[in-house]
Subunit: 136 residues, 2 copies
DNA sequence: TATTTAAGGATAATCATTATGGATTTTAAA
DNA sequence: TTTAAAATCCATAATGATTATCCTTAAATA
């Protein structure tokens, strides 16, 4: 969180109570929340905060490279404060997203990639979380 | 396409000219089109077709397991008539999606997966297509 | 051909996200 | 401390994709 504040100062972005609350909520957050998740949480402290503020703060964080946007849930965008390269496991039932910090060799064979310039990759694992497996 | 018709007949779904046109458009289609792409194309033959019809047909195909919905483009859903297990390469510039038919070993280590039940995976590769690389 | 039932199409509704604009707050300078 | 400029807040409107509704039309089947 400290470094988020620093980065913001560095580029003339102001530190407001709303933003600090969002930083704090995201800091070390492993739940991959949606904009609404964040909005609902921050609203407990700042009941007048607007969705626009949440979206704009997320946009600013993304632009600083301090936040990733996940396109893994077809219903809504999810955000990930863990910006190191990692992969995800999503429960097909409750949509919970869990980090997978493992290194996989996924070199695309030359003939398959053609003259594409390869820049990165992301693996989505699908499965059932322990809770949902129990429920059936 | 034939087998799509058969599956539809088997479950009391009617074969209409609009649906056949969509089947035909999707058959062997490697472009991963959006609902709008499909709508615009079919409209050439059936100028009165509605978006609702496109969405409903896609939904029916999905339910039959004849079509996959991709959550790889944050702006809109893309559809994939290739339902065999494969991966994708997306151009971060023009959003073109290309199939990668290669087999990768991506076994999640026991300690990372916990008691999740693993059911599948999908790898998204990010890069620049030859055309976009040229443009800079 | 008649009957049944699903599908088509126009359009409204919904939901997530983005844009706008005036009031407020922060920051820096005077 | 006062002032001014810039950034942010939030209410709200706009947008764009997707889903729902409802009435008319057409496909299937006997
Ligand atoms: Mn993550
Ligand atoms: Mn594909
Ligand atoms: Zn679950
Ligand atoms: Zn491209």
């Amino acid at each position: 969180m400290d470094f988020k504040m620093k980065k913001f100062r560095d580029i003339n972005l102001k530190l407001t109570p709303q933003r600090l609350a969002i930083f704090e909520y995201l800091d070390d957050n492993k739940s991959h929340p949606s904009a609404e998740d964040i909005y609902l949480e921050i609203r407990k402290k700042y009941p007048t905060i607007s969705f626009a503020t949440v979206y704009k703060t997320l946009e600013a964080l993304k632009k600083q490279g301090l936040l990733l946007e996940l396109t893994i849930d077809p219903e809504r965008r999810r955000y990930d404060p863990g910006t190191e390269h990692h992969h995800h496991l999503i429960c097909i039932d409750c949509k919970k997203i869990v980090d997978i910090h493992a290194d996989f060799r996924v070199d695309v064979p030359e003939d398959a990639k053609g003259s594409f310039e390869m820049l990165g990759n992301h693996i989505e694992f699908y499965g059932l979380c322990p809770e949902c497996k129990k429920k059936g």
